[in-house]
């Protein structure tokens, strides 16, 4: 017998499409991994980088942003602004040592409950394969080693 790592994923969902897609997944009893916890925003364009950084700093192993398909935004084009912000942030996260698989942007319309459930399952599997988020110990400017903020659960591990 072995223990399986269960990642914790935070999902920021658009009120108009993917939050309803999650509702639809529920109504149609589409099962998916319980590892995701959703936060409703009015639009994917509302997500700010702090939401993601704080999620990682606070213990999330992955963050999913979900919005309406391009061209179907309830607010005309704000999902495209989310996409721009997402792309920039993902490369920043990569530089911080956070794998791109931990930060995902998913388009899911209100009719795509099954699609959303599948994307959640896929992400849970990918992040599970990566293991818990461990931010690396980086070399400081003066050659000193400085630990970046670490997931509380792994503090001991890093210190050791």
């Amino acid at each position: 017998m072995s223990e399986q790592f269960e990642p914790l994923i935070i999902g920021y969902t658009c009120n108009w499409c993917s939050y309803r897609a999650a509702d639809l997944a529920g109504t149609s009893r589409q099962k998916y991994a319980p590892n995701i916890r959703l936060i409703r925003l009015m639009c994917s364009g509302r997500f700010s980088p702090e939401f993601v950084l704080k999620a990682f700093a606070g213990g999330a192993d992955g963050v999913m942003i979900t919005g309406c398909h391009p061209g179907e935004c309830h607010y005309i084009e704000q999902n495209l602004k989310a996409m721009r912000r997402f792309t920039l942030l993902r490369s920043t996260l990569k530089q911080m040592g956070i794998e791109p698989e931990r930060f995902k942007l998913v388009w899911a319309s209100a009719a795509e409950g099954i699609h959303l459930a599948q994307e959640i399952d896929k992400m849970v599997e990918q992040v599970r394969a990566l293991g818990p988020l461990k931010l690396p110990v980086l070399a400081g400017v003066n050659g000193d080693t400085a630990a970046v903020p670490i997931h509380p659960a792994h503090v001991e591990e890093v210190e050791a």
Binding site: M1, S2, K31, I39, M42, G45, R46, E50, A60, H74
Partner: protein, 676 residues
């Protein structure tokens, strides 16, 4: 940590939630562990939304002095309003309540009871942390403009327009084609009563044409929609008809004299001709012709002008240009109808290749006394009556290669076709190839029984192929319909003279663009999505936009009429109220924090953000703001805040969600992989 007195209410929803989530444990935990976050009371209810459940909340607010609430139940999209109203009745500002979903997002989607219970706790912790940051808000009251825009002049749109106009309110009815009437105007008879379609439709069309409260805009299309519920500004392109409407009397001489004949792909479904200047059918409303510029000889060669020469009132205007009309309306009803499935997409049925394969719409036109064959059922040669007819159901419907759904009307339409063949060519054999016979609704099955007794052959099985390749005796010169008769378990080859394909219904080819224009959503099949599939079938997620008829999904005439009337009732209710309360989810600028960088100025698609050149700061117009929050996220100074979705609220919810660690708690035992 907080002075707030927070109440947590967890719904069992019968066994919907309690069957998976250990509700009692969640309540116990919330009462103990969330006390430090301000929870002073936690309780469960079998049905939180019931009167008893709501009364409990109201009493607790009053007796226990609760200042904030978290309701953990179904999706806020279902019952947020219910619990907000309960708060309001108890004297608590409704926006001090947060609803979290532990049914749609937890109990219905997760199997592992322990993990689901754990997640429910985390979700509630998120709600409790968030609600501490909620502010008292007042809904924004906006006036409702009393005029209504209806897009689509088929039977659903006509019904909606008449209901509203008859009640004394102004309606703009925009129709893309030259006349109102829609598909219903093309039909000959309507099932199951066999009423003449035109006889029951044209009086309504005539009403529309003369009604003092209806502004009829045919040969027109909506190009732009701006604003929000109660206050839409709509740009309509009134395409150039090529005539002066005030002079034209609709005498029809122009049409008679026009030398150019064109196949009528729209009204006659390709079965008949029209002229280059035409009214689509004799009872057209308005009775005004249009010039088809693409086919008119004058636009092509610069010569002809026969219509102008003969027009007794000199109404022809070749140089007329499209006109843009700006109209102000409070509500919009979309009744844009459907397209017929293109039978060419199933090549094995031979449509477009085998002359005597017809679509259902062609057959409707053929049966229509005003149609190209004057109502006689004949082969493509226009003269020979068929001695045998095969009617194939579910063409493009209930078919994984095309549309998965049932088009709902084809069984009844096919039965009607069988009856019409028997009525007009009594000696002809009629074969119905069906998968399942679907004759629900009033008097429909009785009609089926009637057709069963009219000596129509019913073969249960999906047709594999329609071919003209004769193999057996008696097949020469015939169309052979090959199908498995699943009731006797045998392959059948039925030679017939004529095949009618009961093509399914599908969403308009441009449904997605139209949905985008009006800010509503489409399903995967591109039908417009209603607010609730059962309880709110004509409203949409976008306030002020309603849908009716086949644009929402396949349906028959009675259902389309019902939806048209229902949408009208909803609109009239709004107009009656005079104003509507909007969610106060709006962004605003904290002046002292704004650096005047203008980054946010580029982020708003609603032009709600303007820059004050004197104060050098940005301003947000609350009436134009739609509350998406993109500017809140984009402001580098944190100078914009969004009510109901402020940074503090989202961050607090995040912190609450993460306060229950995932790792150790939901680690599950899995068996060791087998040794290789």
């Amino acid at each position: 940590m907080t002075d707030e007195r927070i109440g947590v209410y967890v719904c069992r929803c019968g066994t919907n939630i309690a069957g998976v989530v250990d509700v009692d444990e969640v309540v116990r935990w919330a009462g103990e562990s969330l006390a430090e976050r301000g929870v002073v009371h936690a309780a469960a209810s079998n049905f939180m939304c019931s009167t008893v459940g709501q009364e409990t909340i109201e009493n607790d607010i009053k007796e226990k002095g609760l200042t904030r609430l978290v309701v953990a139940a179904c999706s806020p999209h279902l019952h947020e309003k219910t619990f907000r109203t309960a708060c309001e009745r108890a004297g608590l500002n409704p926006y001090l309540m947060d609803m979290v979903s532990i049914r749609e997002h937890v109990s219905w989607v997760h199997v592992d009871k322990e993990a689901a219970t754990h997640k429910a706790k985390a979700v509630i912790a998120g709600g409790v942390s968030r609600v501490a940051w909620h502010e008292e808000l007042e809904p924004l009251e906006v006036p409702i403009h009393a005029s209504t825009l209806i897009v689509g002049g088929g039977i659903a749109g006509i019904q909606a327009a008449l209901e509203i106009a008859d009640s004394g309110q102004q309606v703009y009815l925009v129709e893309r084609e030259p006349s109102v009437g829609g598909h219903m105007a093309q039909f000959d008879k309507t099932f199951p009563t066999l009423d003449c379609s035109a006889c029951i439709l044209t009086p309504k069309m005539a009403d529309i044409g003369v009604h003092p409260n209806v502004d009829l805009l045919t040969w027109s299309e909506v190009e732009d929609v701006d604003g929000y519920v109660g206050n839409f500004t709509v740009m309509v392109r009134k395409k150039a008809r090529g005539i002066d409407e005030s002079l034209c009397t609709g005498c029809g001489i122009c049409e008679e004299k026009c030398p150019k004949k064109v196949v009528d792909e729209v009204f006659e479904a390709g079965l008949g001709y029209r002229k280059a200047i035409y009214t689509p059918f004799p009872q057209a409303v308005p009775n005004l012709p249009v010039i088809d510029k693409e086919n008119c000889t004058y636009y092509d060669t610069g010569k002809c002008k026969a219509c102008e020469k003969f027009c007794p009132t000199e109404a022809i205007r070749f140089e007329q240009e499209d006109e843009m009309l700006e109209i102000e309306v409070g509500n919009i009803i979309l009744a844009t109808g459907y397209d017929l499935f293109d039978a060419r997409r199933i090549p094995q049925y031979g449509y477009g290749r085998l002359a005597n394969v017809f679509t259902s719409l062609e057959f409707e036109r053929m049966c229509n006394a005003a149609g190209p064959t004057n109502g006689s059922i004949v082969l493509r040669d226009g003269a020979t009556a068929p001695q045998s007819v095969a009617i194939i159901h579910c063409v493009g419907s209930r078919d994984r290669n095309h549309n998965n759904y049932c088009s709902a009307i084809c069984c009844m339409a096919s039965l009607k076709f069988a009856h019409l063949v028997k009525e007009r060519v009594p000696e002809a054999d009629v074969f119905e190839f069906y998968i399942d016979m679907r004759t629900a609704f009033k008097d429909y099955d009785e009609f089926y029984q009637r057709v069963l007794e009219e000596d129509v052959h019913f073969i249960r099985g999906r047709v594999a192929e329609v071919t003209d390749a004769a193999r057996l005796e008696g097949e020469e010169g015939k169309l052979i319909v090959q199908a498995e008769d699943t009731l006797i378990g045998k392959q059948r080859r039925i030679p017939v003279d004529m095949v009618v394909l009961s093509s399914g219904l599908q969403a308009r080819h441009d449904a997605k663009e139209v949905a985008k224009l009006f800010g509503i959503s489409c399903s995967a099949d591109e039908w417009f999505i209603e607010k609730h599939p059962k309880l709110d079938p004509v409203a949409t997620m976008t306030e002020g936009i309603f849908i009716a008829g086949c644009a929402q999904g396949p349906k028959d005439i009675p259902a389309s009429v019902s939806q048209g009337a229902a949408a009208a009732a909803r609109v009239l209710g709004r107009i009656q109220q005079g104003e509507i309360a909007l969610e106060p989810v709006r962004a605003s600028v904290i002046e002292e924090k704004c650096s005047g960088c203008r980054i946010c100025n580029l982020l708003c698609p609603f032009s709600a953000i303007t820059f004050d050149d004197v104060e050098m700061i940005t301003e947000i117009n609350a009436a134009l703001c739609q509350g998406c929050g993109t500017c809140v996220a984009g402001c580098p100074s944190g100078a914009i805040t969004g009510t109901q979705f402020s940074d503090q609220q989202v961050m607090a919810q995040l912190e609450g969600l993460l306060s229950l660690n995932g790792h150790e708690r939901i680690a599950v035992q899995t068996s060791e992989p087998a040794a290789v």
